[in-house]
């Protein structure tokens, strides 16, 4: 059930909202739970057992950790210091073991349903290379809806209970609701229990303002998805599929258009998800914060798919780079390198783990691994060359804090991100490589094949379709970057202006959206992950 379908918007969401507010406040979480089960069964049928199993697993694991910690708290005052320390260490080891088991089992399920064929293909390539007569058959596997998203939330929950960041939930069904909550299960945001756990399980009274904000956000998301992303998809598909038939300018333009499409598609989906949750008074985490004003690639990933980036930061990057082993390595390195490189060395190892995980998380294809490692290479080079850059800029008397320099940084990051997007959307690595070099081979723009012309490529509509959303996104992004909430601004306007604006928005979606009889809109891109 797609978030932009009639089925979701009218046949599913409206009855759930009505039911939610007519049922006594105490039982409202039950409505969300039932709705999430129906939503999941509709999309993944019997594969619901996978998310049920993961929920039960993390519920038991967190309870086990919390029981042990509580028991320790109770008896610690009666113990002498050495005994207390010993018991604390013993408990810590047991808690780590539980966390490790949860990670292995839940990542094992993810591996089995998402990466088995990928691993088989790699093994087959090795066998061929080594002349070993062995072949792994491709297995037809069905992937449970949102497995890449809920697996990360599940692991984060158990680790957070171990770290004392949140308390273990007493009711297993509430954990199931947390992992399967219908607005987040398809494409995230990857939520933390400490942020939404209470909100999900406490019923909310109807609040007109929050409800209207939810509807606005959904409308904004639908505009991004149906009007921008789905319309642009028709052009992008043709060029990325038959890139050999196109001139370099068409390829460059379509890489830019794809970046816009992916942004509109993914952030649009998140807006619909966050808007849907707001209808029930639940505020989900933001997943995008004006990513295209980033000055560095690192900053880009703090603004794009924020919840994935923060998961990898908190549960991979920090634990690896701040682990005792790597900190000792850093101290030892200080004898050989200067302070800067000594602290950088552990980070380079930790970053490798982060970007390998990031690439693999996106999909079970070599191109996604390369996509992750592409960012790793940029960040590592940046880190290693920073002292050199510093010297060069100082000798050239360039102020790195100046507006001009920062604009150059934004432009550089934008180009690097677009190259990443090209790898991301290419058929495979060989195509990405060919497309990349084709961008530098001058050719006449007139060699646009008929197939693309048939999609309306040369019509002014195409230009408007690209330019107008860019202007709108830049305008909205500018205000958000200044800390100005457009929704709050609208809320203060008189009723007539407010509703004229909403109706105009609905009219734009209805009249310009890519939908209708015989038209199949593109699936949400991140839903496949």
């Amino acid at each position: 059930m797609q978030y932009n379908s009639y089925m979701y918007l009218f046949a599913f969401l409206i009855p759930v909202v009505i039911l939610y507010y007519i049922i006594p406040i105490k039982y409202r979480w039950g409505v969300l739970l039932t709705a999430s089960i129906v939503f999941y069964l509709f999309s993944s049928k019997y594969l619901i057992v996978s998310i049920l199993f993961t929920s039960l697993l993390v519920y038991l694991a967190a309870k086990n950790i919390e029981d042990r910690n509580l028991k320790f708290k109770e008896i610690k005052k009666s113990l002498e210091k050495p005994e207390r320390k010993l018991l604390k260490e013993k408990n810590e080891k047991k808690n780590n073991l539980v966390c490790g088991l949860v990670a292995i089992i839940s990542l094992g399920i993810l591996f089995f349903s998402k990466y088995l064929n990928f691993a088989g293909n790699i093994a087959n390539s090795f066998c061929r290379l080594l002349n070993i007569n062995m072949q792994f058959e491709t297995v037809h596997l069905l992937m449970p809806l949102g497995i890449s998203f809920y697996t990360l939330s599940a692991i984060a929950y158990v680790i957070d209970v171990k770290r004392g960041v949140c308390e273990a939930e007493k009711k297993p069904l509430k954990i199931f609701l947390f992992l399967s909550f219908f607005p987040t299960v398809t494409e995230g945001p990857i939520e933390r229990y400490k942020n939404v756990g209470k909100m999900l399980s406490t019923g909310h009274s109807f609040d007109y303002k929050t409800f209207c904000f939810g509807l606005q956000l959904m409308m904004w998301g639908l505009f991004k998805k149906i009007v921008v992303a789905d319309n642009l998809n028709r052009y992008v598909m043709v060029v990325f599929r038959d890139y050999k038939n196109f001139g370099n300018w068409v390829i460059i333009l379509m890489v830019l258009v794809y970046t816009l499409e992916l942004y509109a598609d993914f952030s649009g989906c998140i807006d619909i998800a966050r808007g849907s949750a707001e209808l029930f008074g639940i505020e989900l985490s933001e997943n995008f914060k004006q990513p295209f004003v980033s000055k560095t690639v690192n900053e880009f990933w703090q603004r794009w798919n924020i919840t994935l980036g923060s998961f990898l930061r908190d549960y991979v990057f920090y634990p690896v780079s701040l682990s005792t082993g790597f900190q000792n390595l850093s101290k030892k390195s200080k004898k050989v390198f200067n302070n800067y490189y000594a602290t950088t060395v552990p980070m380079i190892f930790a970053l490798f783990m982060v970007w390998l995980c990031n690439g693999l998380w996106h999909g079970s294809e070599v191109k996604y691994v390369v996509y992750g490692l592409y960012y790793y290479a940029i960040l590592t080079l940046g880190l290693l060359l920073e002292p050199l850059f510093k010297k060069i800029f100082e000798s050239l008397n360039i102020n790195r804090e100046s507006k001009g320099y920062q604009r150059c940084q934004i432009a550089r990051t934008f180009i690097l991100v677009n190259i990443g997007m090209m790898i991301f959307n290419s058929k495979d690595i060989a195509s990405a490589k060919e497309m990349f070099f084709a961008m530098f081979k001058p050719s006449a723009i007139s060699n646009i094949p008929q197939e693309l012309l048939n999609t309306g490529m040369q019509s002014p509509a195409m230009v408007l379709l690209f330019i107008i959303p860019v202007i709108i996104f830049a305008f909205v992004g500018h205000f958000h970057e200044q800390g100005i909430s457009i929704r709050e601004y609208l809320a203060q306007k008189p009723l007539f202006y407010r509703w004229s604006f909403y109706l105009a928005g609905v009219a734009v979606i209805i009249s310009l959206g890519a939908y209708g009889v015989g038209f199949k809109g593109a699936d949400f891109i991140y839903a496949q992950f």
Binding site: V165, T296, N298, Q302, Y318, T343, P346, M347, R400
Partner: protein, 78 residues
């Protein structure tokens, strides 16, 4: 006072920022996650404290003041 020393360490990790005035180091992307790792490593050495992972959260790194408070807390726990 810890705060002056904290600002010194912050300036070593990220020169060119007035850390006595900035109070939104994480949200405004002044400190990246990589710089936070460098900072934790430098602070641990400078103040001879262990900063455990659960403490490496944005709330503790908003400003030089919150970092100084974190150090004081860690010193007390030691």
């Amino acid at each position: 006072m810890n705060i002056e020393k904290v600002i010194e360490v912050l300036n070593e990790v990220k020169p060119g920022v007035d850390f006595s005035k900035e109070n939104d180091l994480v949200e405004r992307h002044i400190l990246s996650s990589m710089e936070i790792v460098m900072l934790v490593s430098e602070l641990s050495e400078e103040f001879d404290v262990d900063i455990p992972l659960p403490e490496v959260v944005p709330e503790n790194f908003y400003s030089a003041q919150t970092i100084a408070k974190l150090i004081e807390r860690m010193e007390d726990e030691d």
